[in-house]
Symmetry: D2
Subunit: 354 residues, 4 copies
């Protein structure tokens, strides 16, 4: 915390602010400058509650300095976290890029299997699909619930794909924790602290999507909530933020990838489907996401987008996803990252299912 | 839904789009223009899932037209909703302005009573105070929980103030529904649809705060979630949105007040404390909120802001709240609205408590 | 400027940063804290060019502290500036509120006179009207140029109204300086520094509109550009900023009014017409602007908005402007501000013109 | 233009709106829907001035449909524009990527030559450097003016680099048009329509940077201003937009690259230096910009960033630029684009200069 005094602040006013700081139990460091005096505050273990410092005579501004994150910070753990999964060679945050693909929502066994076969063949290691859909309207399709989770569990057995799916409350989180491999916390729940803490007590890894207007600090603090409950397997996901720009549904903020990597050891992937909301932007932004250094992608694919019950306009056709994979594989190579070809077992499973 | 064709789209392409629309079960209305053809879509009961219309040859853009809200809409209920409370003359949405005041968080019985006495005397009809605090950091003070609710229930008995407090999950919502008069859903939970539905099944009125980056439509749809479960007593609350502007913590968007009043019958109040995040901006923006036509205010007041465990920098001193009330009372009169003087009982209770 | 070190920064790294700062010609003040060390920089007359400080080993972040404005600052001139006009009792920034009204663009002598008569009668002291219109499209009506200025000069003579009109480049600025009383610099030119400097050498007062995405600091620095050339008669104008919100054309940020008044001695008015872009929001936001403490209003009025060549959707009908004036007059009184009734001469002129 | 009626609008109200539209000289197309009627408007050559349509009884909303750009549109010119330069094989918009590099501002002959030698050797075809600097503060370094332009003209002769530099008003534009190869219009002047028109009458190509809060449509319309005066050699440049995100100075919006390419035939490049404002983000975002499909890069490089008079914190060291070039060359290859190796002449010139 730093208190900046006005140019004409008197020595008396500076002293009064220092005394106030000391009275609050901190230490004050007055630094007279050419134009004005600034007063540093140290000795605080957490965040200083500045109270009425800003209102004191002669005070111009109060600036916060210390960053509040601990467990998410590279200061705490310098090495990048690599997330592993039981009985699987798949990782997130290591040499291999994580590719998560599938429909927005699970609509039926057929739809899910058709899409899963295609994304497995193309090289995705994870299958995504919503069983619980947070929809803007209460009258829109809200997902199949546990039935959807069961379909995805079958897909794991059939195709060797790990399952990523969203939880929206305690009940669904318990079920997702049971059926899936990665629990997704959606953008709208990024600051649903109650749900974050519950996810922090789950056994499975958590994919945390950035909120629509979350700063980098808030994003990392949301991960801190999960980690503070003991679950250290957190994957961050940039999915676009809300701005004035109207040529895409959200503005994909790829600069957060290197920014997160500088401050935190957690892996970060990118969702260009929600990040743009337009099918024709998904492939270019997927290339860009890998080029910027992301640890993976989360892409919506539907075997028949026109018939999709949600997000049809941003879902790729399977053939488009094949082409996307070809392109990002080449870009990954430039960055010395790999997208592993499907394991024999996955390939066989996929082909025998076909 | 409207499909706008490119200038050079061929008749064949226009026909193909019309056929596609009909195949999706809707009716297509081609409107040839001087520059380009637009095709209207009707016959949809809900939102059209545009699928791949946007990708068809010759298509320039797809524009959504119908608004999805029903129960919140003035189209459905032309008269403004007036919310009433059992055994109380207090209303929200009628002639009287609703003034909600109190500390950010309930920290102790003393703190709560000291503040309550002052705000009751000044003319507030509602006492606010957080028992469950959604904090950016897991290491910050998270509220007293049920103990805080009990303190507030005592305050109702003592001062005749109605109680407004936030619920952050099912458990806290059940308790808030039991102890308080108004269940607050915070900005970070505005699209926690699971919580909204639960609030829709509660007995008490709901105060719904606008999300940090919520559009007017999303805000109204969140209210629609609550109403769709049967709870029609919803009070909307503007509390600032996130923008690039950095002279306040959020940007208070007062224009949403007349915008909501045009589209919806629900009452809307303004929270200038979170809306600005700066004590010295609360009074001017409170005046502006009443002048723009809001149905009330929600203001943070603390009997000793310097010692506050949260939001000290934006809490008013009780004397400042007194001055605020004097000013907004005069402005209310200009708009033919009232801020009722404290009832005798409230005045007596407050003075006997003092 | 403040350099915040990482938690694990070594003493050596701290020393290296201090040495670097000294090598750049400044003084370094190391403040060891519980978690990390911060290093204050003083001795700089202007902005420190931090160069590669942020890249040095052990550095976490570099934070700028000093504010660069001088002439606009209350630190320099504690008393609020009151702008006066030759041979006129009208002021901006004093007890009286300044009401500027008129059409978006001057379209014809008839249109201008019809509107001027109405706004003069209603109590406006200033007539606004664009002779040079910055339009998004090169194919839209661009204004009448000098012919428009001449019409406005006649209006001054006829109705005793002071004239406010926009300059968009040197040529138009020279003409506006000659014909008008206040030179308007539009939002799109707020950082057209070349034009600002020219306005700083003009004889007339300058009305500076806030840019669509200007921070408070940038807004004040734009005024500093004008003042640094010797023209101290600057009126600031909030006119809405660009955000994600789509229920108004811009988001009117009324909190900047008290924020400016805290930092600067310059008067600030509000333009609710551009600030909302919707006729039905102009009156409520005008009330709010006066209630928040603005020094005046700038409102678009057109005697026949349906036929307006620009901004018809946000222009008030004259009758609506009459009603607006009645309302804001009452609110002004609450804040001990006046909207003077039209002088006898203005009333006579208006009636004789009618 | 589309007028959406309220759900309860009467037939009479629908008829009245249609009559009004016809009275304005357009044609009305009423489309009765299940919930409400929408009325299409055709027959307008330009933008409809909706006047008070939105205020008519029964009207819910007015939606604009037609896009106003003509010359910039792919509807007008389907093939991507390739910009060529006299006596040079360099192109923008073709197979080769355009790499523009150099210091923020020209500070001295030595500084400019040192940097130019390095960027030429690394493979840039264009040298950038500001002679006229738009600075937030009037007290900051404002550039060397014509002296800077002369230094850059020497650099062209010496190193075979084409020169890109900013013009901020008519005078500087005339000089830039004389000395440079590409006239840059900066972000703050993107809607300085007077300057755009003047650039449209210049002989040299124009590099138009996106405004800090410009929508795609406004960006294209600014280019339309230039083209409408006869200069068809316009290069667009994304340089980050202003959002709430604070981990970078601006938010680089890479999705605008495919969005522009879909609507317009003009080439578009990316400036990751201003787009992030942080040296350590420039290389990752440069990779992403090429991966998304941009036609080139504009990068700030300084031979001694610590001593830079402006933008030192975002300027690359020459060694960093070498590494950047190596990386983007590999990514360009994935997209079948080239970054040509320096021509023999350029290599010789550079080495003889060294």
């Amino acid at each position: 915390m730093l208190v900046v005094m006005r140019a004409q602040a008197t020595d008396e006013q500076v002293r009064a602010v220092c005394q106030k700081i000391e009275a609050l139990g901190y230490r004050a460091h007055a630094m007279p400058g050419a134009q004005r005096t600034a007063i540093g505050i140290t000795g605080n273990s957490g965040e200083v509650e500045a109270g009425s410092l800003e209102e004191m005579p002669g005070v111009h501004e109060v600036i916060r300095v210390s960053k509040p994150y601990k467990l998410v910070s590279r200061d705490t753990k310098p090495d990048t976290t690599i997330i592993r999964f039981p009985n699987s060679a798949v990782t997130v945050g290591g040499q291999d890029l994580a590719i998560i693909a599938g429909p927005c929502g699970i609509e039926s066994r057929d739809q899910a299997f058709n899409t899963a076969e295609r994304v497995a063949t193309a090289g995705a290691q994870f299958f995504r699909g919503g069983a619980y859909k947070p929809r803007t309207s209460p009258y829109s399709f809200q997902g199949l619930g546990e039935e959807g989770l069961k379909i995805m569990a079958e897909i794991r057995d059939q195709f060797g794909l790990l399952i990523v799916t969203e939880a929206v409350d305690y009940e669904s989180l318990d079920l997702v924790d049971q059926y899936a491999d990665v629990i997704q916390i959606g953008a709208r729940n990024m600051q649903n602290f109650s749900l974050l803490k519950r996810a922090g007590r789950a056994r499975k890894a958590v994919l945390l999507k950035r909120g629509l207007s979350a700063t980098l600090e808030e994003f990392l603090m949301a991960a801190e909530y999960i980690m503070s409950e003991g679950n250290y397997n957190v994957i961050l996901c940039e999915r676009g933020v809300r701005t004035f720009a109207d040529h895409t549904r959200n503005t994909l903020d790829l600069s957060i990838v290197p920014a997160v990597q500088r401050l935190s050891h957690l892996p970060i992937i990118v969702d260009p489907s929600h990040g743009t909301g337009k099918r024709n932007k998904v492939t270019p932004l997927s290339r860009a996401a890998i080029a910027v250094g992301a640890d993976g992608l989360m892409v919506e694919v539907h075997h028949d987008p026109d018939a999709a019950l949600s997000d049809g306009m941003q879902s790729l056709f399977p053939d488009q996803f094949d082409a996307l994979m070809t392109q990002v594989r080449l870009i990954a190579a430039v960055l010395d990252r790999d997208i592993p070809v499907p394991t024999k077992r996955r390939a066989e499973l996929a082909s025998s299912a076909g």
